[in-house]
């Protein structure tokens, strides 16, 4: 069955690909190869809710669980935080790359590359 950490990761992976959210029973079925008890799924979900990764839609029964942020947003959050501690001036600029669109990113990258080649 793996550790609780791994379980949380699998649950998040399932929730991230279901934009409309999932109920606990649906989650158990999606993760059927892990043969989880419904109570285990509930435990993991309430942990994730407490940590702020999922939110519960209580307007319908059974409650549906939705991701608070997309996976990409979380990755960008980590990269931003990590790069903001980097000593390079250029690395500090990179902090903005995570929050702009793909097209902007390419433009910024080109710009950075050009600046570099004119400097050296």
């Amino acid at each position: 069955m793996g550790t609780l950490g791994e379980l949380e990761r699998s649950v998040m992976d399932a929730i991230w690909v279901h934009d409309d959210g999932l109920s606990a029973a649906e989650l158990r079925d999606v993760l059927s190869d892990r043969e989880l008890a419904l109570t285990t799924v509930h435990t993991v979900l309430s942990r994730l809710e407490k940590k702020g990764f999922v939110t519960r839609d209580r307007s319908i029964r059974p409650h549906r669980y939705l991701a608070v942020s997309t996976r990409e947003d979380h990755v960008a959050e980590l990269m931003t935080e990590m790069l903001s501690q980097a000593p390079d001036r250029q690395a500090v600029l990179a902090r903005f790359l995570g929050t702009v669109t793909e097209a902007d990113t390419k433009a910024l990258r080109n710009l950075l590359g050009r600046n570099h080649s004119t400097q050296s």
Binding site: E8, R71, V75, L78, M79, Q85, P87, R89, R109
Partner: protein, 297 residues
């Protein structure tokens, strides 16, 4: 006493501007530089606080500690002039701000690290090849480490980096990240992050923080040399820099240059001299503050 205050004020000024500016230009042994930076930071803070306190205690006091004791007992405050009161308030605020920022920086760094760890565990998988290493799925070419207590912590590699580097280069990068974790480089940065937070308008605090952040990268490279071929680590830095325009700054170039040469053979005597110099830097304001003799001048 006014003279001691003036000497400390001059010292605080020297440590706030010309000395950090000179130290930032110095390119030698990174450990020596970090030792000197720590001494400059502490000595600067001591001189600044000492200067304010020296002007604050009642005139005619034989020593600063005694003068402070009299103030604390409430024996001397009636003799204080308005100017002395102003200096006393400045000293108390300064001590509070510096210590407060130190505590705050420590706890906010810890909190950010725990949160980062929580999110990281949802986004990454443990590496099958390397111990205490996690792989995060992103095109960014990054490797970093997340400290967690003494000699523990996680090295993080991106799938982008794994694609960009070969196996030997990856091992070299992990040795670099391990060095950060094993030698607690994060702890060396905390005081400078705190001083910068406390006094952001002092350019010295920004220069100090930036320098120490840069120096720990060089230290990790030097320590990784003991486990991996420096030439391969240099290649890895080069490849990562090529993939990531934002990593191409002066630091990557400096790291590659250093890794391509053997370590400077004079580094041990330089280190001993730096430790001596650091001790002197710390002793001067300490003695000025503590010894009654200094008040005789």
């Amino acid at each position: 006493m006014t003279i001691v205050g003036l000497i400390l004020a001059v010292l605080a000024f020297l440590l706030a501007w010309p000395i950090p500016a000179a130290l930032a230009r110095f390119r030698g042994d990174p450990i020596s530089e970090v030792v000197l930076w720590q001494a400059v930071g502490l000595s600067g803070g001591l001189s600044l606080i000492g200067a304010a306190l020296a002007f604050a205690v009642a005139p005619g006091t034989t020593s600063l500690p005694q003068g402070l004791l009299e103030l604390l007992r409430g024996e001397a405050h009636t003799q204080l002039s308005l100017v002395a009161w102003v200096f006393l308030i400045i000293a108390v605020l300064l001590i509070g701000r510096l210590l407060g920022c130190l505590v705050l920086t420590f706890y906010s760094a810890r909190k950010a690290r725990l949160r980062h760890d929580e999110i990281l565990h949802l986004l990454s998988e443990p590496s099958a090849t390397y111990p205490d290493t996690r792989i995060i799925s992103t095109d960014e070419v990054v490797a970093y480490c997340l400290p967690k207590g003494p000699r523990k912590g996680t090295a993080v590699l991106s799938t982008g980096l794994i694609k960009a580097l070969d196996e030997n280069e990856r091992t070299a990068v992990i040795a670099h990240e391990r060095a950060h974790l094993d030698f607690r480089h994060d702890v060396l940065v905390i005081p400078f992050a705190a001083w910068h937070r406390a006094l952001p308008y002092f350019s010295a605090t920004a220069i100090g923080l930036n320098s120490v952040n840069r120096l720990i990268e060089l230290m990790a490279d030097d320590q990784a040399r003991e486990r991996v071929d420096p030439q391969i680590l240099a290649q890895a830095v080069q490849s990562a820099a090529e993939m990531n325009p934002e990593h191409r700054g002066g630091l990557s170039a400096q790291r590659i240059r250093r890794l391509s040469h053997p370590l400077d053979s004079t580094r041990i005597p330089v280190r001993l001299m730096s430790i001596g110099l650091a001790a002197v830097l710390l002793l001067v304001p300490t003695l000025l503050i503590l010894t009654p003799a200094a008040f005789g001048i």
